[in-house]
């Protein structure tokens, strides 16, 4: 039995016990760094008794790009493209999280309009991340059709990003203090059009898989983990919510105006692959409802600025730079990195696609951070993978791996 964070007991199924028979020869199988099922590069050396997995040893670091060392060399607004490449399926969430960390450091006051615009972008990013993960769970169990439907929706979201920031995947969206330009009318039109067509496509995708006998047989019971083991392993995000604990950073430590929104937190019961799939499915619907509420709230707000008043960090508009001495000096100082940055230590967490993405920033007043450490959810929960697949068959291990949504960029940083 396990207890969630409100003290009520919840059912939990322990992992299947494997009898260790001595004097048995186990075979070693290398689920190598390049493998169609591992989306990203990480290696698992599996010790198997026939088809059942007895033990496994993961090796990571095949795409270690030294983000933390690189951050010590870059001024604050040049770190945003680096944060893009953490969880690259939902890079706007990483960008916004970094901007909010710096705004916490400089104690900037962000207008409500900017907060709601940021929520729209972050929820669109969450939808793209969950769509990739769910369609890839299906691909790994052999169902390729959902993948094709779902990626068409991602193209629509990419078009929205392109209208706002110019890039599709690694967006570098927004600036410290807000957005670089107001959303053009074309972006609003595309968002509205997306909101109209998305529910029908998602329902079609659900009909393919949610009550599909084969999919359910493949995924129910595969890679189960109990809530107290998950909490001890530091799980956050959909993987933790699938075990029954309703921990969501947007509710526990609200940021960027999430406290004004009304949304549910879906939880599962067993913590197995089917629950993770269903939790992500329901979260897509919740994100859709949040975007709808944000659009309604933005209509009611008066027309306002699309950025906060932080002249030390936010580039002034070009007309003023060419005509006004003060704006020219600010522009020079920001681009050359000569602004005065307060000292301090900040930890800020956002709800990324995989869980609590934390930014721990130590600033010593210089133009680059003294230390910036990312609390990456994938890195922390991938440790539990050997325990989750012990006693399962090899094909369950593959489906478990893709349901955990391990993104290599976030794993290795």
């Amino acid at each position: 039995m396990a207890t969630d964070n409100k003290g009520t007991t919840i059912q939990s199924n322990p992992p299947i016990n494997v009898e260790k028979v001595e004097e048995k020869e186990y075979s070693i199988l290398n689920l190598g760094p390049t493998h169609p099922a591992t989306h990203g590069v990480f290696q698992n050396i599996l010790k198997m008794d026939g088809e059942v997995i007895v033990d496994s040893e993961p090796t990571i670091g095949y795409i270690h790009r030294a983000f933390e060392k690189l951050n010590e060399r870059r001024p604050y607004n040049q770190i945003t493209p680096i944060t893009d490449r953490l969880n690259y399926c939902s890079s706007p969430i990483n960008n916004m999280g970094w901007h909010m960390t710096v705004e916490k450091l400089i104690q900037a006051e962000i207008p409500k309009r900017v907060e709601y615009m940021r929520i729209i972008i972050m929820e669109l990013a969450r939808i793209t991340d969950h769509l990739v993960c769910n369609s890839v769970i299906a691909v790994d169990s052999g169902a390729l059709t959902g993948f094709i439907y779902v990626f068409e929706e991602r193209e629509y979201i990419y078009e929205i990003y392109e209208e706002i920031c110019g890039a599709r995947l690694t967006t570098n969206i927004g600036r410290i203090g807000g957005f670089e330009r107001d959303f053009p009318q074309a972006a609003w039109d595309k968002i509205n059009k997306f909101m109209e067509r998305f529910p029908k496509v998602l329902k079609e995708f659900e009909k393919l898989l949610v009550r599909n006998r084969i999919f359910m047989d493949r995924t129910i019971g595969a890679g189960a983990i109990s809530a107290d083991r998950a909490l001890n392993y530091g799980f956050t995000g959909p993987n933790l919510r699938a075990t029954g604990v309703d921990y969501d950073v947007r509710v526990m430590n609200p940021y960027s105006g999430y406290q004004d929104f009304d949304f549910k937190i879906p939880v599962g019961t067993n913590g197995d692959t089917y629950d993770r799939f269903m939790v992500r499915e329901e979260e897509i619907w919740e994100s859709y409802s949040i975007i709808k509420q944000a659009l309604e709230k933005l209509e009611k707000l008066p027309k306002g600025p699309f950025h906060a008043d932080v002249p030390d960090f936010y580039l002034p508009p070009k007309e003023e730079v060419y005509n006004n001495m003060e704006a020219l000096i600010y522009h020079f100082k920001i681009v050359m990195g000569e602004t005065e940055i307060p000292r301090g230590e900040i930890y800020h967490a956002v709800e990324g696609g995989n869980g609590e993405l934390g930014f721990y920033l130590i600033s010593d007043g210089g133009r680059t951070p003294y230390r910036l450490h990312y609390r990456r959810p994938c890195f922390i929960y991938y440790q539990a993978y050997p325990e989750m697949i012990r006693g399962n068959l090899l094909s369950d291990a593959i489906v478990t791996l893709s349901s955990m949504n391990v993104i290599a960029g976030e794993l290795d940083a």
């Binding site: 169609p36 990203g40 590069v41 095949y62 795409i63 990739v132 068409e152 995947l169």
Partner: protein, 184 residues
Amino acid sequence: MEAVKSKIEVVGAPAGVEGPGFFATSLDNVVGMARKNSLWPLPFATSCCGIEFMATMAAHYDLARYGSERLSFSPRQADLLMVMGTIAKKMAPILRQVYIQMAEPRWVLSMGACASSGGIFDTYSVLQGIDRVIPVDVYVPGCPPRPEQVLDGIMRIQDLVQKESIRRRKGPEYKAMMASYGIE
């Protein structure tokens, strides 16, 4: 009545001698045409460029039109090694091993800035370009490149495949280039 101009462009046949029931051309042309329209790629996806490749493979920018319907994850059955994403120094020996396991004729497409030259990661742990360990045929720049750029890269590979002589891989220049990489 005017004939409606068809929008479909038909590719002309290669240069050759034609007659009733036969068409004679050089073997290079035929082999090149067959090979270029049936390249089986090996997607060696490591990071963000891999997601753009998945978008290229999906229905909107369909890669299957170019004959790459079947992605081969086994190097023994692949023609085209597409390296997508950053290659760290820990990964470089594995990339080399996968390249060595591929059978001739094989081509390499390096997608993205990180694979071509290390990209924005000028650090101690990132390999500054995969051409330090394997020979590369086409580089596609971008971070990540748009799917149209990737398709353009595939079309440049197709040009290379079409024009390649079938004796090239046994010749001394090719062997010297391979020796410079330490691959026999």
